[in-house]
Amino acid sequence: MTPLLSARAVRKTYGRGVALVRAVDEVDLDVATGETVAIMGPSGCGKSTLLHLLGGLDRPDSGQITLAGKQVSRLGERGLARMRRSAVGFVFQAFHLMDELTAVENVELPALLAGRPPRAARRRALELLDRTGLADRARFLPSALSGGQRQRVAVARALANEPLIVLADEPTGNLDSAATLDVLRLFDGLHDAGQTLVIVTHDSRIAATADRLITMRDGAFVDETRLTGGTAGSLGKLAGLES
C-alpha cells in the first residue's frame, strides 16, 4: 500500500565547516494512512526540524518528501501553502494561539483563511470544540483557559480544515499530568477516527501510546519499534498517568 507520507534520504544542515550541524541526516520514513507514529529523542536531536520538513514549513537540503502522492520538496512557496492548507494540521508545544481571539475564533481561523464561508467555519469550529470537550469554553480568551484546554483548542484548530495528517511537536511538553492525559485521550479519539498522526516527543510515556515508535539521535533514526498496545490500549495506564 502506498504510504500517505513518505520521506527518502532527507537531509537538513545548519552552519558551515566546523560549525556544521546535521539536524536531519539521511532520514527515511513512511507513514500509513490512519497510523500514529511517535518520534522520540533528546532535545536537539532534530525531531522538530524533521516535523517542519514533513509539514512543508521548511525545505530539506536534499532528499524527497511525498505527501498524498505529491512531492513536497518540489513545491514552490504557493504550492507548499496550499498543501498546508488542505492536507496538514500542526500542533505546537507552545500552543501558538492568538491571544486576542476567543477559543472558537482561534479554531475557525484556518478555515476562514482557506476561504470557507464564515458560518460553515464557525459551525465546524464549534463541532471541534465539542469533540475536544471545550464547548462551554468556546468564547473564552486563551488567557482564561488552562494549559491543557489551550492545547485542546490548538488540536481542534489543527483539525479545522480536515487535514490528511496532523503533525504534533511536543504537544504535552508544557502540560501537567492531568492535562497530558486529556490531550492523549484526544489523540486516541483521533486515532480511532482514522486520523493520521505524527507526534514528536521526548517523553517515553507519550511515545508508548503510538502504533510505531522511532528513536532519533544526532539527526538520524537509530531505532524503530512497532508497539502492539498503541493508542488502542488503556492510554492512562500505559502512559503511567493514572493508577
Binding site: 522538530s48 501553502a81 498543501m83 498546508r84 483563511l113 488567557s143
Partner: protein
C-alpha cells in the same frame, strides 16, 4: 547625582547602540524645530522698519499716480501742484510690455527714466549701474523671481536689452504684488517692474498698449496723504506710501502665517513620526526593561532612562533646528517679499525667546511621543519583560466578526491593523496631515490663479510667488517626513505581524497573501486619513485666509492627491511587507517561545 549620572549613561549607551533609529528621531524633530525657528525668526523681522529704511534711502515718494493716460495727465499734474506738495517726480513714460528671460515670459511695467537722478524716488542700485541706452534696470524681487543677474540679455517686446543693474524702490511693492499699481496685460498676469531710458520706454509702446505715465509727489507732511485723498486729491490713479507699506506688510504677514501653519503641521507630523519610532523601539527593548528591573531598577528609574534618551535627542534637535533655521532664514528672505526692500534682513537674529520656544516645542514633541510607551514599559511585569513577551494585542470582537467575511488578505490585514490601534491612528494621522497640506497648497494656487505645482513652467510664467515657494519648501519637508513615517510604520507593522503571519502561514496562507495583508493593514488607516485630509485642507485654508475667496482645484487634482498618498503608502510598504512575508516560519514560531 549618582543616579542621574547612571540614567544619563544608560540612555547614552542605548542611543549609541541604535544609531540609525536615534538619527531618524533626530531628523523628525529637527524638521519641526527648523520650520519653527524660521517662522519665529521672520516674525522678529519687522517689515515696517525695512520699508522705512528703503523709503529714506531712495527718497521714496509720498504718493504715486500710475497708469495715467496722456489725456488725463494734465489733470494729474495740476493736482500735483496743489498746496502741500513740495516736490514732483515725472511724469515718467510707462510701456506695458512682454519680457522674455530664462525661458519665461512675463508682463512688465517698463518705466522710462532720466539717466540723472530726480528729486524723489531714486531707486537704490544694489548691483550694476542705473539706466543707460540699451541697458535695463530690473527691480530686485522681480530679478530674483526670474533668476536674472547683471549682464544678462532680456527681450522686451522682441527688442534685446542688457540687464545694466538691479535696484530696489519704495514706490512699488515687491513682485508679484507690484502689479497692484499697474494694469496687467492679461487677467492673472502679475507684471514686474523695470526701468530704462525715456526714449526706449516710449519706443516700446504699441497701439494696443499705448504709453501711460507715472507721476510721484513728495508732501510737506507725509502723513497727510489720507487727508488729501479726502479732499478729492489722491483718488483714481493715486496711491499713498502708506498703502504701499501696508501691501508689503500684508504679504510678509501672509508669508509668516504660512510658516506658522507649516510649523504646526510639521510639529504634529513629527509627533506621529517619533511616536511610531519610539513605539517600535521600545517594543524591542522589553528584555532590557526586564533586566533593568531585575537588577533593582524601579519603574521610575526605567521611565527616566527611556525618557532621558528622547529628551537628549530633543535637545540635539533644538540645537540643529536653531542652526538650520538661522542658516535658512537669509535664503528664505532672499526670495521673499523682503527682497523688494533695501534692508532685506540678510542676517536675521535668533533671540533667547526664539531659542526657548523652539526648545519647548522639541521637548513637547519628545514627551508627547514617548511618555505613553515609556510609562507602559516601566509598568510592565518584570518576569514577562525578561521573557521578552510581546504586549498582548487589543481584542476587537466586532472587528474580528466583521473580518471573518473578508478574503484572507483583508481578514488578516484588518486584524493586524486592529492589534495595534495606536499605530494605525498615527499612520492615518500622518497621511491626513500630508493630504491636508497638499490640498491647502492646491487651493492656494487655484485661488491665486496659479497652475498646480509642476504645471507652472509649462504655463510660461515665472513661479515666483514667495508664498508659493515657502509652501513648496514646507510641503517638500513634510512629504519627506511623511515618507520616513510610512516606511517606519510599515517596518513596525511587519515586525509586529511576524508571529501572526507565521502562524497564518502554517494554516496555508501564502506569502503573497501575508504581504497583501500587511499592505492592507497600512492602507486601511491611510484611506480615512487621506479622505479626511481633503475637507481638513479646505477648512485649514478657510481658517487662515481670513474669509478671502476660495477656489477649489479641479476634482482630478484632489483625486490625484488622495490616490497619490495611498499609492505612496502602498509603495513604501511593499518592500518590507514582501521581505517580512518570506521569513522562515519555523524559526519565527521558535523565537516566540524562546
Amino acid at each position: 547625582m549618582g543616579r542621574l549620572a547612571l540614567i544619563a549613561r544608560l540612555a547614552l549607551r542605548d542611543l549609541r547602540h541604535r544609531p540609525v533609529e536615534a538619527l531618524l528621531v533626530l531628523i523628525a524633530i529637527t524638521a519641526a524645530t527648523t520650520t519653527l525657528t524660521l517662522g519665529l525668526v521672520l516674525h522678529g523681522t519687522s517689515t515696517g522698519h525695512s520699508y522705512e529704511q528703503t523709503r529714506a534711502a531712495t527718497a521714496g515718494p509720498d504718493a504715486v499716480a500710475t497708469d495715467v493716460s496722456a489725456s488725463y495727465l494734465p489733470r494729474v499734474l495740476a493736482r500735483a501742484k496743489q498746496a502741500g506738495v513740495v516736490a514732483v517726480g515725472g511724469p515718467y513714460p510707462v510701456a506695458s510690455v512682454l519680457m522674455r528671460a530664462h525661458g519665461y515670459t512675463a508682463g512688465v511695467t517698463a518705466e522710462g527714466r532720466d539717466q540723472a537722478s530726480g528729486p524723489i524716488d531714486r531707486p537704490d542700485v544694489v548691483q550694476g549701474t542705473w539706466v543707460t541706452p540699451g541697458g535695463v534696470v530690473v527691480e530686485r524681487s522681480f530679478a530674483a523671481a526670474l533668476g536674472l543677474s547683471v549682464g544678462e540679455r532680456v527681450t522686451l517686446n522682441g527688442r534685446v536689452l542688457r540687464v545694466a543693474g538691479i535696484a530696489v524702490t519704495a514706490a512699488s511693492p515687491p513682485y508679484p504684488e507690484s502689479g497692484f499699481l499697474a494694469t496687467p496685460l492679461a487677467a492673472g498676469d502679475e507684471p514686474g517692474l523695470v526701468w530704462l531710458t525715456r526714449a526706449e520706454a516710449a519706443s516700446l509702446a504699441t497701439p494696443a498698449a499705448p504709453l501711460t505715465y507715472t507721476v510721484e509727489v513728495k508732501l510737506a507732511d507725509p502723513a497727510a496723504t489720507t487727508a488729501l485723498a479726502g479732499a478729492d486729491g489722491f483718488t483714481g490713479n493715486w496711491t499713498s506710501w502708506q498703502a504701499i507699506a501696508a501691501e508689503d506688510a500684508k504679504e510678509v504677514t501672509n508669508e509668516q502665517l504660512v510658516l506658522d501653519v507649516g510649523s504646526w503641521l510639521l510639529g504634529l507630523l513629527s509627533v506621529a513620526s517619533v511616536a511610531v519610532l519610539v513605539g517600535g523601539r521600545l517594543a524591542e527593548q522589553t528584555r532590557r526593561v526586564g533586566l533593568l528591573k531585575a537588577v533593582g531598577g524601579t519603574p521610575g528609574t526605567v521611565l527616566l532612562v527611556l525618557l532621558a534618551e528622547y529628551l537628549m535627542l530633543a535637545l540635539a534637535a533644538t540645537a540643529a533646528g536653531l542652526a538650520a533655521g538661522r542658516l535658512a532664514a537669509p535664503v528664505l528672505t532672499s526670495f521673499s517679499f523682503f527682497a523688494g526692500l533695501q534692508a532685506a534682513p540678510a542676517d536675521p537674529p535668533v533671540t533667547a525667546a526664539t531659542a526657548a520656544l523652539v526648545l519647548a516645542a522639541a521637548l513637547a514633541i519628545a514627551m508627547l511621543a514617548t511618555a505613553l510607551p515609556a510609562l507602559r514599559a516601566a509598568r510592565a511585569s518584570t518576569v514577562r519583560a525578561l521573557a521578552d513577551a510581546a504586549r498582548t494585542p487589543a481584542r476587537r470582537a466586532r472587528l474580528t466578526a466583521l473580518s471573518a467575511r473578508l478574503p484572507a488578505p483583508l481578514l488578516l490585514g484588518l486584524r493586524l491593523a486592529a492589534r495595534r490601534p495606536g499605530r494605525s491612528v498615527l499612520s492615518g494621522v500622518s497621511v491626513a496631515i500630508t493630504v491636508t497640506t497638499l490640498v491647502t497648497v492646491l487651493i492656494y494656487r487655484a485661488s491665486h490663479g496659479q497652475p498646480p505645482p509642476g504645471a507652472a513652467a509649462a504655463a510660461g510664467g515665472p513661479s515666483a510667488n514667495p508664498i508659493s515657494q515657502v509652501m513648496l519648501v514646507i510641503t517638500v519637508v513634510l512629504v519627506v517626513l511623511a515618507v520616513v513615517n510610512a516606511v517606519f510604520t510599515a517596518w513596525a507593522t511587519v515586525l509586529d505581524a511576524r508571529y501572526p503571519s507565521a502562524l497564518a502561514r502554517t494554516f496555508g496562507t501564502t506569502p503573497s497573501q501575508v504581504a497583501a495583508a500587511v499592505l492592507a493593514a497600512q492602507l486601511l488607516p491611510a484611506l480615512p486619513g487621506a479622505l479626511i485630509g481633503v475637507p481638513a485642507g479646505v477648512g485649514l485654508y478657510a481658517a487662515v485666509s481670513n474669509g478671502s475667496a476660495l477656489t477649489m482645484p479641479s476634482d482630478q487634482w484632489v483625486a490625484a492627491v488622495v490616490a497619490g498618498a495611498l499609492l505612496a503608502v502602498a509603495l513604501f510598504t511593499a518592500v518590507p511587507a514582501r521581505l517580512g512575508a518570506h521569513g522562515p516560519v519555523a524559526a519565527i514560531l521558535r523565537s516566540e517561545t524562546a
